[in-house]
Symmetry: C2
Subunit: 200 residues, 2 copies
């Protein structure tokens, strides 16, 4: 049986769309696409993440390299930015470009790891405690409170920004979580040597 | 000088897009298009309204016929649905289809008129008092609280749903108003006989 770590990497390695939610609730939810795709040239568990408006997948609004790990038995998704990330926009659909991402391109995002636990058939992850994952929006600094729920059928996410001093809720959807269905599966791109290192 | 009524019709008769807002605040705002276009065959002040996700303008999520009036000196935007409205989807970009809309196709939306006042260079409209503009969303009935701010450069809108009994805020964006820039001008489609009836 696969380890929790490997199950989490497998469940993440796919494409997700909230099209149904967007079309059932106009205009409250943007239609967005989220893809996580293995980067076999990097450390085991490394996944390219692109998030984009469905209308413009060539210009993702967020591009990250995640690294799924089990640190002292605690499932963790380490969150990293890319230096000059525009070089890699669209790499999630371009294997040649994806293959050019190197460890030296990665920038740590302190305080922004997700702490993950298994829950029923899936996983729930939340930004690590400490209110240290700072983001800029509309000229103000806020800290990110983010939750990710993953199951075999899809994913739910919710992001909110809070004021670092007053903890006031500054931005984020009151309408609720984004709800994604799974549209693509990239499991066959997970290299065999990752499983070997994970000791299955 | 044009009457307030005519100024309001002229300021509405255009196309609007919140592209800048959507792209500056991903993924909190869907990119939406709103167009108001004169219907010269109907009563003076009649405008076809279509609202759509930018990704799919052929399938508007809302299509209405508005009628701008001055009732006892009070600027009012009467709100009407269309019977079997799918017949008219895309009419805002199709003059032949638009020309087929007849008075007999219109369905009143009781309690959903906007009461409008002039404010600096533009107008502010809010749904008439009474909590009677009922909408169904996610299987629940709510009443609409909606505000429209119009100025020469663009438009801001905010829609919220409240429970008819408890007045609890059920849906709507905490992130704030949709902010639209003007992208199209349909002033030259306002027929001369409307101005004549308005007595300018």
């Amino acid at each position: 049986m696969a380890s929790s770590l490997e199950r989490l990497v497998r469940m993440l390695s796919g494409g997700f769309s909230n099209q149904e939610q967007a079309f059932e609730n106009p205009p409250l939810y943007a239609h967005i696409l989220v893809k996580f795709r293995p980067l076999p040239q990097l450390a085991p568990g490394s996944l390219l993440l692109e998030q984009s408006y469905a209308i413009n997948p060539a210009a993702p609004y967020r591009i990250r390299v995640l690294r799924v790990e089990a640190l002292n038995g605690q499932l963790t998704i380490v969150n990293q930015a890319l230096a000059e990330d525009q070089r890699f926009w669209g790499a999630v659909e371009d294997s040649e470009l994806r293959g050019r991402i190197q460890t030296s391109d990665l920038l740590p995002l302190d305080g922004c790891a997700y702490v993950v636990r298994e829950e029923s058939e899936g996983f729930v992850g939340e930004v690590e405690p400490g209110c240290r994952c700072l983001v800029e929006r509309k000229g103000a600094t806020s800290y990110l409170v983010s939750r990710l729920e993953l199951n075999p059928a899809g994913m739910r996410t919710i992001d909110r920004g809070h004021d670092p001093i007053t903890h006031e809720h500054l931005w984020g959807s009151l309408a609720g979580a984004f709800e994604f269905a799974r549209t693509d599966d990239y499991n066959d791109e997970i290299p065999a040597h990752w499983s070997e290192q994970w000791g299955d």
